[in-house]
Amino acid sequence: MTEKWTTIIKPQTGLFEINFKELFRYRDLWQLFVKRDIVTQYKQTILGPLWFFINPIITTIMYMVVFGGIAKIPTDGLPQPLFYLSGICIWNYFQTCILKTSSTFRDNEGIFGKVYFPRLVMPLSTVTSSLYVFGIQLLLFAVVYIYYVITGLHIAPNIYILLLPVLVLMVAGLSLGFGIITSSLTTKYRDLSLLFTFIVQLWMYATPIIYPMSMMSANKQMIAALNPLSPVVEAFRYALLGTGTFNWWYLGYSFAFMCVVLGVGMVIFNKVQRSFMDTV
């Protein structure tokens, strides 16, 4: 045969045959999904994107009352709104991504059942479009930040602010990795997805969102840093507010962790995507 076959459809592919070239070819689709997610979220609402402010504001007030006021958990010497808001921004982004990507297969059953495109485009665009909400909430944080700077609080971002994109990338990578693993594992057996929502809820308390890591002893800090999200949150606070614990080792561990989760996630997802329609 002189001509080559361009498409070959067969039952099983190797574990690591992820078609990145194809994924790249569908970059326009990824872009369009991101746009769709953003545009449709506040269509036919009056406040529009303002809604993205309301959630963190109310959450911050709640935390100030419950954890700051009643439980009297210290905030590393920072004003409570600033401390909580910094944590909430990151946590909200992480939570949105992980929950949305973990139901990729189930939510998109309709489209996936009719057309083929690299399924990974879907969770990737979810993570990207959630970045937009994260950006808006970061803006809110900036406003509060500037307010405190004007009223005379001595805070200033340091050189580590350059790490910010990396930190955001790590949050995205971690949530994407965990999300697609869960999504792949729950196509057949839904037990895990019930457990997962619960786990994510508890996860927040294992992450220094409402408390600073500095209130723990060094040993306990080591244990707390096993949660790959903790060093990221601490580094974020350290870069912007100058408080908290910053440790290259912990951060490196988080980064490695993210790479592993993401890699494993891609492999599993790639395997499941081919035949999940039969079991979902």
Binding site: T7, I9, P11, D28, K43, Q44, G113, Y116, F117, D278
Partner: protein
């Protein structure tokens, strides 16, 4: 130099029926243990039944497709027809890569675009224009390709006025037109279409069929088309495949296949011939191949019978091993489903039993004239090993065919019209001395 566009090789697809439960988990674990650890074959691939949805089967696994082998030449417009559940859509789904085959391989040249549904991914809140981009990208077009074709698409769909209105304000017909317009401008080398022409008004359907003809004839693309609308199939396709129970029952030029389909499969309750493309009811003692009614005088297959004629029910089949207890026979039912009789080859004295031969056999049960009344009857195959095992058990969707008896009730001028009753024998009357 070959110009095969798509090549199907041993494509099979197995589905598991029933609910996902702990039993599924145990099967999965067993499968993993057998294949990954012991390096054996998948134990659940061997079992499974032909997918006949109307019969309650014994196995939890069914084959939606079984050993599909065929080639499609470049530029062919191939129609795929068959009953509901024959496996047509599953085949297209595999070709569209929505799901994977259980075994086998498909090779294709060129980009495949599939239209299993029009307007996939349309978001009601987005405008027509945005949705064109969205849907086009899902189908695999790049942004610049879509931009180039935007005007053409809008014109074809006839929605120029609404192009910047959210599609939720569209009428359902407009949405469908827009969806089809995008698909029609995809420019793939291979287009896979599933029943989408069934939507839209008559004018649009005409337009759509015209566009598909243009695509295939003018531009030499390959089209695979599934439809129940035989008129569209006739208008579009130059070749056809007839599917039945997950197998290819026949393939050839459109007219032949379509008329065959109409004769045999279109109305299941009028089937006058039963054939066995998938080797169902396999048994080494007797595997039926073909069942039909023949006329006693001409020995030719027939469907319309006269009550004057003697006719027979004929079964062809293959014997690979002989068994002394082998029974073959038929059950005859009235049109209301009532059993009239069973009749077996072993009903007579043992020395008169017919003796099946190794290899192909053709067995006939002769029916007397003036026996059954006018009407429609169903005759079902019975085969068994006497007192031991059913091969084809009656009332369990065993092979069956229908035949009609019309006219020829008697030679009497008093009895020319239809009479009530299942039987219509002409009995002898005599006056006896008192």
């Amino acid at each position: 130099m070959s110009n095969i566009a798509i090549q199907f090789e041993n494509i099979s697809k197995q589905y598991r029926l029933g609910l996902v439960s702990t039993k599924t988990l145990s099967h999965d674990l067993n499968r993993w243990w057998q294949t990954a650890i012991l390096k054996r074959e998948d134990p659940y691939l061997k079992i499974g039944e032909t997918n006949d949805r109307s019969v309650a089967g014994n196995s939890e696994y069914v084959w939606a497709l079984r050993d599909i082998n065929f080639d499609v030449n470049q530029g062919d417009v191939l129609g795929i027809i068959g009953k509901n559940g024959a496996g047509k859509s599953t085949l297209l789904k595999i070709l569209s890569r929505v799901t994977t085959p259980t075994t086998g391989i498909i090779r294709a040249r060129g980009k495949i675009a599939s239209l299993l549904e029009v307007g996939t991914g349309f978001h009601p809140e987005l405008t027509g224009r945005e949705n064109i981009y969205m849907n086009g990208a899902i189908m695999g077009m790049t942004k610049s390709e879509i931009t180039r074709k935007l005007d053409e698409i809008v014109e074809f769909a006839g929605v120029a006025r609404y192009i910047d209105t959210p599609t939720k304000r569209y009428s359902s017909g407009m949405t469908v037109r827009l969806g089809f317009a995008i698909a029609a401008h995809l420019d793939p080398e291979i287009l896979v279409v599933d029943e989408v022409l069934a939507v839209g008004d008559a004018e649009f359907q005409k337009k759509a069929v015209g566009k598909m003809q243009e695509v295939s004839r003018g531009e030499g693309r390959t089209v695979l088309f599934v439809s129940h609308q035989l008129n569209s199939v006739r208008a579009l396709c130059n070749k056809c495949i007839l599917m039945d129970n997950g197998c290819i029952a026949d393939a050839g030029d459109t007219e032949t296949i379509v008329s065959k389909y109409l004769n045999q499969y279109n109305d299941d309750s009028m089937r006058s011939i039963w054939i066995n493309p998938c080797n169902e009811f396999y048994s080494q003692y007797f595997t039926p191949a073909k069942m039909y009614v023949i006329d006693k005088k001409s020995l030719l297959p027939t469907t319309e019978l006269n009550n004057n004629d003697a006719f027979g029910v004929c079964i062809e089949g293959k014997v690979e091993a002989k068994h002394h207890g082998f029974n073959v026979g038929f059950a005859v039912y009235s049109s209301s489903g009532e059993l009239i009789f069973w009749s077996l080859n072993t009903d007579s004295l043992p020395h008169k039993f017919i003796d099946v031969q190794m290899g192909q056999n053709k067995i006939v049960m002769w029916m007397q004239p003036h026996y059954l009344n006018e009407g429609k009857y169903r005759v079902e195959l019975i085969t068994s090993i006497h007192n031991n095992e059913w091969l084809c058990k009656p009332e369990t969707k065993s092979p069956s065919i229908f035949f009609n008896i019309n006219g020829g009730l008697s030679d009497s001028p008093f009895w020319q019209e239809h009479r009530p009753g299942i039987m219509a024998p002409i009995n002898e009357f005599e006056i006896l001395n008192i």
